[in-house]
Each structure stands twice: as C-alpha cells, then as structure tokens.
C-alpha cells in the first residue's frame, strides 16, 4: 500500500528519488562486471570488450605481473575451501540451533531462563572483541591454521542468533497441533518430525542461508586463524589482491575472481531475499 506519493501525483519525482537512492549502491556492481570484460575503463565507459580475463583464470592459476617465485593458490582449491567452510558452518548452525531452539521453546527445566538471558546478552555482545582470546583457545586446541578451527569459532559466534530465530519459529507452532498428532497415534518423535519440523521450515531455511553466507563471506577470523595457503578462502585471496607485496595483478582478472566469489551471494540475493530480510531484522548489526 503506497501511503502517499511524494510530491503528489508525479511519478517523475518518485523515479528521480528512487534513482538517486539506488545509483550509489548499484553502480559499483556494474563497475565490477564491466571491468571483468573490458580492456580498460574510463570512468564507467569501457574502452573495449574482451573475455581474456576470464580465459586467463580458467585453469585456476592466477598470473602475477613481475613475480616469478611467488604463486597464489589455485582458484579451484580456494573455491573448494570456501565452499567447505560455508557448508560446515551452515550445517552445524542449523542442527545445533534447532536442537537448542526446540528445547528452549518446548521444555521447562532448571536453568532455562538463565540460558535464555545468556543467549540474548551474547546476541548483543560483540564477539569480535574476543578475537585475541579465541586465537589463544584455538592454539591450545591445536586448531590454529585449519579450516575446522574457523568453522567452530564462526558457528559459536552465530549461534545466539540461530538459537533465537529457531526458538521463535518453534514458539510459533501451536502445542495443539503437536498434541493432536500425538492423539492420532504419533510418537513424540513422529510428531516432531511430521508436524513440528515442516512448520519451522522457513526458520531452518533462514538459519541455513544465513550460516552459508556468513561462512562464505568470512574474512577476519579466516585471515587471523589461517596461515597456510592450502586453506585460503576467497576472502583471503581477494584481500591479498588489495594489499602486500604481490598485490598487483590485472584488475580485469581481479574483477573476474571477485565475481566468481559473488555468485552464491547474487543467487541468494535474487531468490531468497525474504529469508535474508528476516535474518537482518533480528540479526547482528555489523558495521
């Protein structure tokens, strides 16, 4: 429902306002796309089109201008690492937060209220401030310089949000529904699987997508807890292009790699926005 059109009936003003609001955000993405297929750019005007940047990375090797000894890790390995990280984070988050969410929503036990308070406070608490201590913990656990270390830290930091989302969804499934399934002869487990779970599917999807994107985009923990190139993820690779001794590579190739990295993000953006909005509403503030 449109409340009131700005400036009365004129659609033109609306269009102008919308364009002003949207341009500063979207232009960078067009810029990225153009760079990856252009020979050179003058502002937003490509000087000529080419597919050579994409062809150059098709074998996964990244050429560095002027360096012979240093090598970036193979793009396919980097993609695989990023994917493993994202899938593990998403999977663990869904399982653990739905277990906890279900018990916090359905059972009454001692310490329940304390746990809920803890989860809410942790949800507001900025986990990033614990980075140095987490570094110490991972070293003691022997998980420094491994993907699994980053996965565990990431899961833990996202858990308060995941538990809170799942608890909300479980609260939304009425006990009558579950009860009638029990009366009809379902076991508790059966009722949980056939009645409760289908009703929280949206919540599971939300946590799954959030976890995947959160793992896929993870930068600071990966950068801090992983040293070995074998475990590099896309975020570390792209960061390397912006900093350090061997940062200079062709912008076209950088853009192609950045776009590769963006693929899942773009897909989720186009097809799963309702889940993303839901998460953002209850989610962490971020920067």
């Amino acid at each position: 429902m449109d409340r009131l059109n700005i400036g009365g009936r004129t659609g033109l003003l609306t269009a102008l306002v919308v364009i002003t609001l949207v341009i500063p955000v979207v232009i960078l993405y067009f810029y990225l796309g153009l760079i990856s297929i252009s020979t050179d750019m003058d502002g937003v005007v490509p000087e000529g089109f080419t597919l050579e940047h994409w062809m150059e990375i098709i074998d996964g090797e990244i050429p560095i201008a002027g360096a012979t000894l240093y090598k970036y890790p193979n793009i396919y390995l980097v993609a695989l690492n990023t994917f493993i990280l994202a899938v593990l984070v998403a999977g663990l988050e869904v399982v653990i937060s739905s277990l906890a969410g279900y018990s916090l929503s359905r059972f009454r036990f001692r310490g329940r209220s304390a746990i809920l308070t803890l989860i809410l406070i942790l949800h507001a608490f900025p986990g990033i401030t614990l980075l140095i201590a987490l570094f110490f913990v991972l070293n003691q656990l022997g998980l420094y310089n491994s993907l699994i270390g980053v996965v565990l830290v990431k899961v833990a930091l996202d858990l308060p949000l995941g538990i809170w989302i799942m608890k909300g969804f479980f609260d939304g499934v009425s006990w009558d529904m579950e009860m009638s399934a029990l009366v009809d002869g379902c076991t508790r487990l059966g009722a949980w699987w056939r009645v409760v779970m289908p009703n929280v599917r949206n919540g599971l999807m939300a946590v799954l997508i959030f976890g995947f994107l959160s793992g896929w985009a993870e930068f600071i923990y990966a950068q801090t807890f992983i040293a070995d190139q074998r475990f590099w993820t896309f975020s570390m690779l792209v960061y390397a292009f912006t900093t350090g001794e061997y940062s200079y590579i062709n912008p076209g190739i950088t853009a192609a790699i950045a776009l590769l990295y963006m693929i899942p993000v773009i897909l989720f953006f186009l097809f799963a926005q309702k889940y993303l909005l839901r998460i953002q509403l209850i989610g962490k503030g971020g920067a």
């Binding site: 449109d2 609306t14 919308v18 232009i27 810029y31 929503s105 507001a124 990033i128 980075l131 913990v137």
Partner: protein, 343 residues
Amino acid sequence: MSGDSLWQREITFEDIQRVFSTLKKGVIHLLRGLLSPLKKVIDKFGYKLAIYLFIVPSMGFITIFYIIPFILTFLIGFTSMDFTFEWNWIGVQNFIRILNDRFAPKIMNNTLFYVFTTLTLFNVGMALVVSIVTNHIPDYIGSVVRGIWLLPRITPSTVYALLWLWAARGDNTALLNWFLGLMGIPPQNWILDNPWVIVIIVNGFVGTSFGMIVFTAALKSIPEDYYRAAKVDGASTLDIIRYVELPMIKWPLLFVTAYQTLSLLTSFEYILILTDGGPGLYTTEVWSLYSYHVAFRAYGGVTEIGYGAALATVLVVIGIIMSLIYWRVFKFREMMVEPKIEV
C-alpha cells in the same frame, strides 16, 4: 486327528503365515524383554536426558568460544604474553601503559569521530531517509530499493572494500573522480587525501540496512487511520513525516542508535582492508583495530598479545555493560515468556 495326518497334509499358505507370525511374536517378546530395562531408564530419565542432549551442544560451543575467551581476555591482559603463549604475569602494567600510550588519545579521538559520524550520517540518518522515502512510494518499488540497500551488507567485505578502493583511486579514470570530474571537481587521491570520507561511506553503506529494516517494520505497523486523519486535517507529506511517522518510531530509533554504537565501536574489518589504519601514522586507526594490530602485527619483531588483550578488555567491558543495558532497557525479558507447554 492323528499325528500322521498332520504330516501327510500338504503345507498350505496359512501354515507358513502361522509360523511366521509365531516367530514374529517371539522376536518381539524377546526384544521387549531385552529393552524393558532400557525403557525403564528412558521413562525415568528420558525427559531430562533429551533436554540435556538437545541443549548440550550449543552450551558447549558457547562455553568454549564465548565464556572461556571472555575470561581469558581479562587474564591475558595482565600478562606480557607473546607468540610463545607464556603466562608472564605483570599485574596492571598493561593498563598503566594504555594511560601513558602516546597514541591512545589520537586513537580514542578517531574512534569517537568515526562512530559518531558514521552513526548519524548513515546508520541512523541514511536509514531514516531510505525507510521513510520507500514508505511513501508504491511498495513494489520501495521493496526493490530496500533490497538493493541490502547488497553492501551481504557482499563479502573484501569484495565490497575492493570495489571502493578501485572507485576511490587517484587517477582521472577512477569512478569517483570521473563522476566528480563531470561536475567540474578536480580529482584527488581519496585514500591518501581524505581517507575518512571513504572509511565512513563504506561502513555507512553497509550499516544503513540494519536501521532501514527496523524503521521500515516500525513504519509499516503505523495504522492506516493515522495517515487518513492527518490527510483530512490537511497535513502535507512533510507534516506527516514530522508529526506522525517520526514520533511513532522513537523507540526503534533509540534501539538502532544503541545497537549500532556498539557494533561500530568494535568492528574494524572494513577499515583494516581499506586503509589498515593509515595512511601515515594511525590516521584512521580506531581502538579495535589498534588492539588487533598490537596483538597480531609484529612492529619491530614483537607481537604483544598481552597488551592487545588489555586494549581489547576495554572494549569487552564496554560491550558487556552495553549488552546488559540493552537487556534491561529494551525489555528483552519480555521475550523470555515461559513455554506454554509442559511435556
């Protein structure tokens, strides 16, 4: 009937069925017998057991990766720990050092400036603009605009920062200078000459979406009658914004301000990628980034995890105090209603 006839009779399908059903009953009885002690245990402790099995994984994670690090941050802050991870207790020396650190005042100023400016201009300011404007245009367009403002947040931080590093390059052909050139403004090297502008814009564009979503939800919940009543009274669009919408979203406004202050205070990811605290000496260094640098970057070959932890302790304390305040002020407790169901 004699036994002979039984054996002489042909075996029928029913016989086979009977044998099978007897066998089945036997097996079931056997299993029941075996399982009954277990069942008794489950009946007695099952409920508790289930609760613990459900809650233990998450509490394990939270203990290892939240509670222990939380305590460790305080403890390490009292040591001169480096990469050998030895606990050399030095009392409050790190904290005295913070007071005497000649860079601390500058970094503190930077932090306050960065948080305040980003918050007012974008996390609250721009968020208000986007949510109010999209509330006044047809909703199918409005939701697209809001969707687009979500992009910076879901774009991986390294890619988003990279895009801005390109756009803000010093030459004439870079995006920012090219656009400004159209308006006759001379080009400049933004990261070197005006790093704060880029740092604030990048963080601000990411931060806008949080407030935007919260405000939009609040605006949408204003009853249609309020708008009609205002229109009947002859209110203009600006009047409606000023006297209907803004007063109605006071509470979300406070919430976003409080919440985003804390996240701006502690996040340093984009600054790390964009300027790494530079150019020059600590030009755009903020407190959280300083703590990171001290602990993980070896200046002169020394990494000072202890001092870094002491610097982080300041943020942890602020963080925990503010989280507790939110919990009280924003009535988090109301969200903790007891379960309606008892199993």
